[in-house]
Structure formats: structure tokens, C-alpha cells
């Protein structure tokens, strides 16, 4: 790495982070299991397949409209398992608490974790707590790990092995709500206009689609937003991808905040949005199934996999022009999850 110090951008889900993973972590940790980047690793044990994932949560502020750090910690890990095609079952929860943190706040956070886990049908089965001196962490950090079981027929989803040109791309509703909610809570509390984080567990929605449709790939569009997922799907691949800006759902208020602050909603984080690559023949069916689910009422088909411009994601802009969609480089918004 060219940098000799860690920068905020190393944690933002974009190019700097990929560089950090490749050059620092994988150069020491690499083995035959973690060789493909994906949301969860797929483990073979006898004839069973397990999905395993872990994630840490440091969002600031810890309470925000639509959720809190605890809800986020359950949803994020459940979603990482679900987008691999797995059924999430068990979670761990590790807490790092700052000396002086109010117990009442901790209780609120833990209750919403329990609530969210119950709704998602997962159990929190083990945990750990550490307390550090005042100033050595910011209020509360949470780590969750999760295990799910994976049906063999879904084992190619996490690596996107079956993606082919003609496949259609769907998303289950409004983008950019989480990132803009956090930004508003942190910097712009004096602005009127209500937005809420979309933070939610997506496993039941995903299960409905998987049961009926041929899904070739899924990813939750968290840090780096929809743009980063689009760029990653076709990075170094023999196919390209095209999104149609006009069909991408963005809530009016969120769009207003993005316009005022100069953010491109395509790059803003979500915590309850899944991008699906579905076989062309099943795309309309998937659309209907998702629209019938409470978390997918605004679902839209937003693009397709192409055999042209291999490796490149393009956006057909709302005025009919074309441009490249690239991964986020460096910091867009710190500590959003």
C-alpha cells in the first residue's frame, strides 16, 4: 500500500478498502476458502453447506430515525447471509462499551436486537462484552457473526457464477435512505423533511423470490451504494451491465437532500436493499413476488446484464445519455454502519 497510515477512506467500501483487503489481509490470510470476495463464505462440512459471515458496527449517531446500532447489527449480518442464498439461523453478538455509557441506552439497543432477531427467525446464541476506558471507543461498538445453512442448489449465488447476458437486475425499493438519514441526523438536524433509514432484515423477502425464481446473484447495497454493487458485479467479467437511471426508485425527500448536498444517490448507503440478478424468463415473476411483500412494494427492474462492454457498468441517464458507473473511491460519508 502506498499509504503508511490508515485513512478513513480505507473503511468506506470503495477502492481503498479493496486495496487494503488485498494487500494487507488476503496477503497473509489467503487460503482456498476465502479466495473469492463475497458477503458470506460458503463452508462444506460432510454433505452440508454452511454460510458464515461477520461484521462490525460503529455507526454515529447510535440512534437514528428508523433504527439504532443494535438493529443494524442484526439486520446487516442476517442480510449478508441471506444474499448468499442461505437461511440465517444463529448469530453471535460482541459488545465494546465505553466507560460511562448509559445502561438504559444499552437496554434499548439490546431489546431492539432481540426484537429484530425474533422477526427474522434467527437466534442470538453467544456473545462477549468488553468495556474500555472513556475516550478509547465512541459509546458502543458491536460485532455480530452469523451462520446459516445453504441449500446446494443455491451454492453458486454468492459468487455469481451463473450470471449471463440477458439477465435482469432488480432492487426492492428506494435507494439512499439510510446514508442520507445518518447524514441528516449528524449534520443537518435543522433541515425539515422526514427521511428514515431503510434498515431491515431481508431474509423473508429473499426466500420468497428464491422459492419461485432462478436467481443468479444477490448483494445488499450497503456502503458504496447501488453504484458499487453494479461495478462489482461485472468487474473483470466477460459480460457488462447497464442500469436505467429513470427506473431506479428514489424517494422524493431523499432526492432533495442529495440534490442540496451534491450527493449522487447511486453512491449512498442502504441497509435494507437487495440487488438481484434474475434469469430473464423469471424477472417479471420475481417483480410480482417482491411487490407483494411489505419490504418490496417499490421493487423495480432497473437494468440488465449485457454481452457488450464487458467488465464495465454503464448508466443510461434520465436524459438518455450514457456514462460509466464506477466504484466509490475514498471517503463519501464516514461511519454510516
Amino acid at each position: 500500500m502506498k499509504q503508511d497510515k490508515i485513512l478513513i477512506g480505507h473503511g468506506s467500501g470503495g477502492k481503498l478498502m479493496h486495496q487494503l483487503i488485498d494487500e494487507v489481509f488476503l496477503s497473509s490470510f489467503s487460503n482456498n476458502i476465502n479466495d473469492t470476495p463475497s458477503d458470506s463464505v460458503i463452508l462444506n462440512y460432510d454433505d452440508k453447506m454452511l454460510a458464515f459471515t461477520t461484521d462490525s458496527y460503529v455507526v454515529d449517531p447510535i440512534f437514528f430515525p428508523g433504527g439504532n446500532i443494535g438493529k443494524l447489527a442484526v439486520c446487516g449480518t442476517v442480510n449478508d447471509l441471506a444474499v448468499s442464498g442461505a437461511t440465517p439461523l444463529w448469530l453471535s453478538a460482541g459488545f465494546i462499551l465505553e466507560e460511562g455509557f448509559p445502561v438504559e441506552d444499552l437496554k434499548t439497543i439490546v431489546r431492539s436486537m432481540a426484537n429484530e432477531a425474533r422477526n427474522a427467525g434467527v437466534k442470538i446464541v453467544t456473545g462477549d462484552t468488553k468495556v474500555v476506558a472513556k475516550g478509547q471507543c465512541d459509546k458502543i461498538f458491536i460485532n455480530t457473526s452469523g451462520i446459516g445453512i445453504l441449500d446446494k442448489k443455491y451454492s453458486n449465488i454468492s459468487r455469481g457464477k451463473n450470471i449471463q447476458s440477458g439477465d435482469l437486475i432488480l432492487i426492492n425499493g428506494y435507494i439512499a435512505d439510510h446514508g442520507m438519514t445518518i447524514l441528516k441526523a449528524r449534520e443537518l438536524s435543522h433541515f425539515t423533511g422526514n427521511i428514515e433509514s431503510d434498515c431491515t432484515c431481508l431474509n423473508s423477502l429473499i426466500k420468497n423470490v428464491l422459492n419461485e425464481c432462478e436467481v443468479h446473484f444477490m448483494r445488499d447495497a450497503t456502503r458504496g451504494g447501488l453504484a458499487t454493487v453494479a461495478a462489482e458485479i461485472c468487474h473483470n467479467k466477460s459480460f457488462g451491465l447497464e442500469l436505467d437511471e429513470e427506473s431506479i426508485p428514489v424517494n422524493e425527500v431523499t432526492r432533495g437532500f442529495c440534490e442540496i448536498l451534491g450527493y449522487d444517490p447511486l453512491y449512498v448507503a442502504n441497509e435494507g436493499k437487495v440487488v438481484l440478478v434474475v434469469a430473464e424468463k423469471d424477472a417479471v415473476k420475481a417483480l410480482e413476488i417482491m411487490k407483494n411483500h411489505e419490504l418490496g412494494m417499490q421493487t423495480a427492474i432497473i437494468g440488465k446484464i449485457t454481452h457488450e462492454h464487458a467488465g464495465i457498468a454503464l448508466l443510461k441517464t434520465i436524459i438518455g445519455g450514457k456514462r460509466i458507473i464506477d466504484m466509490l473511491a475514498g471517503e463519501q460519508l464516514p461511519r454510516i454502519c
Partner: protein
């Protein structure tokens, strides 16, 4: 969304594009000199809609991009002082100085804070009376009135710990300098926000002396295409003049109150522009009367600025002589996560916009 959707109306866009194709016969080179325009043109994919004889160039319109390396070095030197909080617009923190960036200094624990407006910096000064808050005051006519107003507020409140390091610049000298150097520009897509302050008179000499048309444009696709059409018509009819497309925001006389405010606080000086060199009366410094807010005068800061990187052609890109893809460093050693030249740093820079949206010619 009101005031946005009307200006992204597809039917209107199609009509404008059709008319441009119909009217435009001659080769024409149009330059925008505003980072907001650079970004909007690329974000909406406007070049892909125009006929081949219309060439769009990005000029020195991004304040971050034209800021000198020694200014960044100066900010870094100030950030190293124990009692200083350095406040800056976000764009500036990744611009390379001679040996570091503000982002890297922040990682070392220096007090570098990103603010959305100079008002946030003022508030920081009120909240931290035991520290000195320095604001990196960059930008053209658009941001200068805010800096001026902050100085007046500080004066009124008797704030003793607020300073600015001014790199404010004025646009017309740069627009004239490019033509003076013999660069072929048939028309300027003139900056919308700058003009809300200055009004349209400042462009008259360009039209009269240099016979270069100027159309003050808004930032939405309909605005930009309409402005391009107006410039194409000027060229085809051989009548270079100043016109306002962005009438919903720009008045001929500009914003008189803001202009008076700037005049009260700042005075013109010769200033250095990346790629253009020193241009007479193109920068603004604080008047002597307000020198107690001037970080240049109130702090000792040892700075030694190295020469620009070899191979970096930001200068020629800012002049519109070359496009980013002609730079040897573009996309290889120089990319948004590790920029070499300033044009790659700010998301309003020509290289950044090209990298993000047009890396492959479509």
C-alpha cells in the same frame, strides 16, 4: 421534485438535442469554467448526445484544481500547530501538497475538520475559545461573500480566535488569459453561481474585445443544452455576445449586497493559478483593516514547496489544450483514490469527472 424535474424533462431534452443537431454546422469549441457544469455534463452523459462537431472543454472552473500546491503546504503547516483547528471544505483534504495531504495529517491526529460552510467554522471558534480556528477560504465569486460575511460576524461578536487563509479568486482574468494565450475557444458556457453574484457585465469585455460569446448557464440538463444551443446559434450567425440562459437565478446587475460585502473586506491582488501561472488582479486578500483575521499574517508557518510532479499535465488540461486521457498518469498512477494532480482530486475536477464517467470512450 419541483424546479428539478422540469429541467430534466425528456421531451424537452429531445427537442433541444434535435435542434442542436439541426442548427450546428461549423466546428465549435465550447468551454465551461465551473466545476458544477463539468460534473453535470458528465453525470447526465451530455457529450454522448451532441454531434461530433461540438467539442466541450473543461476550463479552470474548479477552485480546488486551480489552487496552488504552496497553499496546501501552508494549510498543512498551520494544521501542525498544537493550538489550531484547521477547517476546510471536504474536497481539499485529499489534494496533495509537497509531501503530505490534510487527510494524512488528520490520520496523524492533527485537528483537521471538514465543514459544509464557513458558518460551521465560526461556530467551532465560538465553541473552542482556547483554540484558534483557521478556515481554508477557497473559491470564486460564489463563496467569497460567505467568507466576507463570516469576517463581519466575527468582528461584531469580537471573536478573537477566528482566521481565514484566503485563496479566493475572481473568474474573468482567467477567462481572458486563456484567450490571450491563443487557445481556440468559440464560446464560454459561463458559470451560473458566480454570475448570481457578479451579474453579466463582467463578461462583456470577452465578447467585445475577443469576440467570444458567453452564455450564463444553469446546472440542469435542459439549462446546459439550451446554453449550448444559444452558443451554437451565436457562432453560426457570427454575433458573439453575452446572454443569460439562467434567468431564474441571474440578474444583469448581480447581487449588489454581496458585492458590497466583498468590497468591504477584500482587496484584489495578483494570484497564482495552477496551469495558468500568475494572473494580475485575479486573487483576493483581506484588507489591512481586517488583517487580524488573516492567517497569512497572524501565524508563522515555514513552508517549502516542491515543484509540480513531472508528467502531470493538469495545467494543460485546465487550459483545455489537452483532455485527461492524453495524460500519461491518467487512470494509472493518478486515480481518485490516489490522486497526483489536483484535477483528479475534487469531484468537480475534469480528470475526476472523466475517470468516473467516461473512462472508456462511449
Amino acid at each position: 421534485m419541483k424546479y428539478i424535474d422540469e429541467f430534466r424533462n425528456k421531451e424537452l431534452i429531445n427537442r433541444l438535442v434535435e435542434e442542436i443537431h439541426h442548427v450546428s454546422k461549423q466546428e465549435i469549441r465550447l468551454m465551461e469554467v465551473c466545476g458544477g457544469h463539468t460534473m453535470a455534463i458528465q453525470r447526465f452523459g451530455i457529450p454522448s448526445l451532441l454531434p461530433e462537431n461540438i467539442k466541450l472543454l473543461s476550463g479552470p472552473g474548479c477552485p480546488v484544481c486551480v489552487t496552488s500546491r504552496s497553499y496546501i503546504d501552508h494549510l498543512i503547516a498551520l494544521s501542525k500547530k498544537e493550538d489550531v483547528i484547521l477547517t476546510t471544505y471536504g474536497d481539499l483534504i485529499r489534494v496533495p501538497g509537497s509531501s503530505s495531504t490534510l487527510e494524512k495529517e488528520r490520520a496523524k491526529g492533527r485537528k483537521v475538520k471538514i465543514v459544509y460552510s464557513v458558518l460551521d467554522a465560526l461556530q467551532m471558534a465560538r465553541d473552542n475559545k482556547d483554540l484558534k480556528v483557521v478556515f481554508a477560504a477557497i473559491g470564486f465569486e460564489t463563496t467569497t461573500p460567505a467568507s466576507a460575511s463570516a469576517i463581519l460576524t466575527a468582528e461584531k461578536e469580537q471573536l478573537k480566535n477566528f482566521y481565514i487563509l484566503s485563496a479566493h479568486k475572481v473568474m474573468p482574468p482567467a477567462m481572458s488569459a486563456l484567450i490571450d494565450e491563443g487557445i481556440r475557444i468559440d464560446g464560454y458556457i459561463a458559470p451560473g453561481h458566480v454570475s448570481t453574484i457578479t451579474g453579466s457585465h463582467i463578461y462583456e469585455p470577452l465578447a467585445v474585445t475577443f469576440k467570444v460569446g458567453c452564455v450564463i448557464s444553469g446546472f440542469e440538463p435542459v439549462d446546459l443544452l439550451k446554453s449550448i444551443l444559444m452558443l451554437v446559434k451565436q457562432k453560426e450567425e457570427n454575433r458573439p455576445c453575452v446572454e443569460i440562459q439562467y434567468k431564474r437565478a441571474v440578474k444583469i446587475e448581480g447581487n449588489l449586497k454581496a458585492k458590497a460585502l466583498v468590497e468591504e473586506i477584500f482587496t484584489e491582488r495578483d494570484d497564482w493559478w495552477r496551469g495558468l501561472g500568475i494572473l494580475p488582479n485575479s486573487g483576493l486578500s483581506l484588507k489591512e483593516k481586517y488583517s487580524h483575521y488573516d492567517a497569512e499574517k497572524q501565524f508563522d508557518a515555514a513552508i517549502e514547496t516542491l515543484r509540480e510532479d513531472k508528467g502531470c499535465i493538469c495545467g494543460e488540461i485546465l487550459k483545455g489544450i489537452k483532455n485527461p486521457k492524453e495524460c500519461k498518469l491518467f487512470g494509472k498512477v493518478c486515480n481518485p483514490s490516489d490522486p497526483v494532480g489536483a484535477c483528479m482530486v475534487s469531484n468537480e475536477g475534469a480528470c475526476h469527472a472523466y475517470y468516473r464517467y467516461r473512462r472508456l470512450e462511449l
